[in-house]
Symmetry: C2
Subunit: 340 residues, 2 copies
């Protein structure tokens, strides 16, 4: 991050299981992530009994660059996994973190990343309870990769899943699309826009909790990360055996993101988000949910973007600004590699 010379770096010994690794764990990991479980210092964490059904989700994070407007790989690794657990309707409780570090990576940058993880975990009300660190030789990794796994509990009575959408239901989103992907791309390509585009990376469990309190019958929650809104809607349509019709003008989009996408030839519907959720609910709950979302800092720009339709071909279609309708497909391949 800084131009200092001779700064301390990760060495192979930091992954060796000996004293050097022990110091790294104490000086960086315990310092910023500490909690009663992590400090047990055993092979794993001993946790209390859980009160409900369990939910478990995992995410590898390989984002490049590691630091970006709105966050870094550390905060992202917490947000991504907290959100995956929350999208099941569960309350995320515990996070494990596996670090794969490249020899030569500055310790100062690692500490900044771990500090952000600690802050993000505290804000999301989860604890990093156990971890692991491995070191690979220079040229066999890329700075830092972090795989996080989250465990949460889900209350009885909730039944949320990608296969639960039915025709007639409403499709909601909590805010603007494409912010994360465009922020990463701008940083990567050194693009400068008039307005800085900042990642939306955030933990959505608080918002989800408010939404479920208002409408426990929500059918689907999913965060449109890799592949963007287009991939997420197509996944759900496929799992539920339904179609969808969305309206372009209802999809929140920042002018700066829209401009950047036009410039770069990208479709904002294919671009990753890290603080967004799609919610599919009964039509009669839509207004109530929108008010709850609008009252939350992460849902101020929430919008009903369309409806679930009956369609044996499971197509996602969009009414465009010009009044026509086009099919929204997911991409076969990769538009923006290493976006998360």
């Amino acid at each position: 991050m800084t131009g200092k010379t001779n700064k301390a770096c990760i060495e192979m010994a930091h992954g060796g299981g000996g004293r050097t690794m022990d110091r790294l764990i104490t000086d960086i990991f315990r310092k910023h992530l500490d909690n009663e479980y992590l400090s047990q210092a055993n092979d794993g964490a001993l946790l209390p009994k859980a009160s409900g059904r369990l939910v478990m989700a995992t995410d590898g994070h390989v984002i490049s660059p590691l630091f970006f407007p709105g966050g870094n790989i550390g905060s992202l690794a917490i947000h991504g996994t907290v959100n995956d657990v929350a999208m099941m309707g569960a309350t995320p409780l515990y996070i494990s973190a596996s670090f794969i570090l490249e020899e030569g990576f500055p310790l100062e940058d690692l500490e900044e990343i771990v500090r952000s993880m600690g802050d993000a975990a505290r804000q999301a009300n989860v604890s990093v309870v156990t971890g692991d660190t491995k070191v690979v030789e220079k040229g066999k990794g890329d700075g830092v990769f972090i795989s996080t796994t989250g465990v949460g509990v889900i209350e009885d009575g909730l039944a949320i899943g990608g296969d639960k959408a039915v025709p007639g239901q409403a499709i909601l989103i909590n805010g603007t699309v494409g912010d994360h992907g465009v922020a990463i791309l701008s940083k990567r390509e050194n693009l400068e826009f008039e307005t800085e585009i900042v990642s939306d990376s955030a933990a959505l469990n608080g918002l989800v909790s408010d939404m479920l309190a208002a409408a426990p019958s929500i059918s689907v929650l999913r965060d449109p990360t890799r592949g963007g809104l287009a991939a997420t809607l197509n996944e759900i349509a496929g799992q539920s055996g339904v179609g969808m019709l969305i309206e372009e003008e209802k999809i929140p989009l920042k002018p700066a993101v829209s401009g950047a996408c036009e410039l770069l030839g990208l479709d904002p519907l294919n671009i990753a988000n890290e603080g967004k959720l799609v919610c599919i609910c009964n039509a009669e709950d839509a207004d109530k949910l929108l008010s709850v979302m609008h009252a939350h800092p992460l849902g101020k720009e929430a919008s009903m973007i369309g409806a679930v339709t009956q369609d044996p071909n499971k197509m996602v279609r969009m009414t465009t600004m010009f009044g026509g309708t086009r099919m929204i497909d997911w991409l076969a391949g990769e538009q923006l590699p290493r976006i998360c």
Copy 2:
């Protein structure tokens, strides 16, 4: 693995969240790991209520080479995490797996790795319930890294931890030391020995379950992986504030491993194991536990290697074959990088 040309390889699109990635998940991951939880196909897995306190452990696997005598990174990733959960005295139930794949890695090798994971999971009676796949550009990774996280449950009444050893207790091990590290090193350096040295990589949860049934009062269980037996005993001595005195002649060691270590200038006590456990128990339970261990396929060569002592300096000492006593320190740094 094979010399075939033009074989299909991992492309950046395999990590893109689109159709190509979807095919990879279906054709390789679901095919070999399938179970009722993985097939839910949501952002995470919805699991039943757990009957006891939870245990959570995580391990990143960056072993090189990926394929070695006695296993590959896939089986190792299951064994390593199952063992971490089992060392808490818990029954491992669920595993998550995060794959970081390097562009250009042969799909055929990936399938072999995932097949081994599936076999290892079934043998250890655990399910891989959720996963994630990321792809990094050629030269930014090293084939395959796998981070696995395990969740298990622990019965009431058990109190196992590295801080629970007390003077007078017995120190047991379930078999020979150094096999895994020497097997990896031999393969890496293309060394040929008269007898092939095979990794001891194995899931220890079955053995632990038998041991706990016989002696629920076991104080410490730990698997001597990175840093070997020396690091593990020193860790426990430090956590419990005790000393240890072990006897060199009681430590099981394969002649081939001993010979290889001599040749390579390595101390087998510093070398990683992947199917070994250290057990610290009340002296009066030692014989009973040794019989239980001897009756299990993974404990045939179990041995009582020493005792916990009172020592304010928390030193681990060893009576050598020649009758002297030497201090067993853990290494400051790294003897064998990327051993697990």
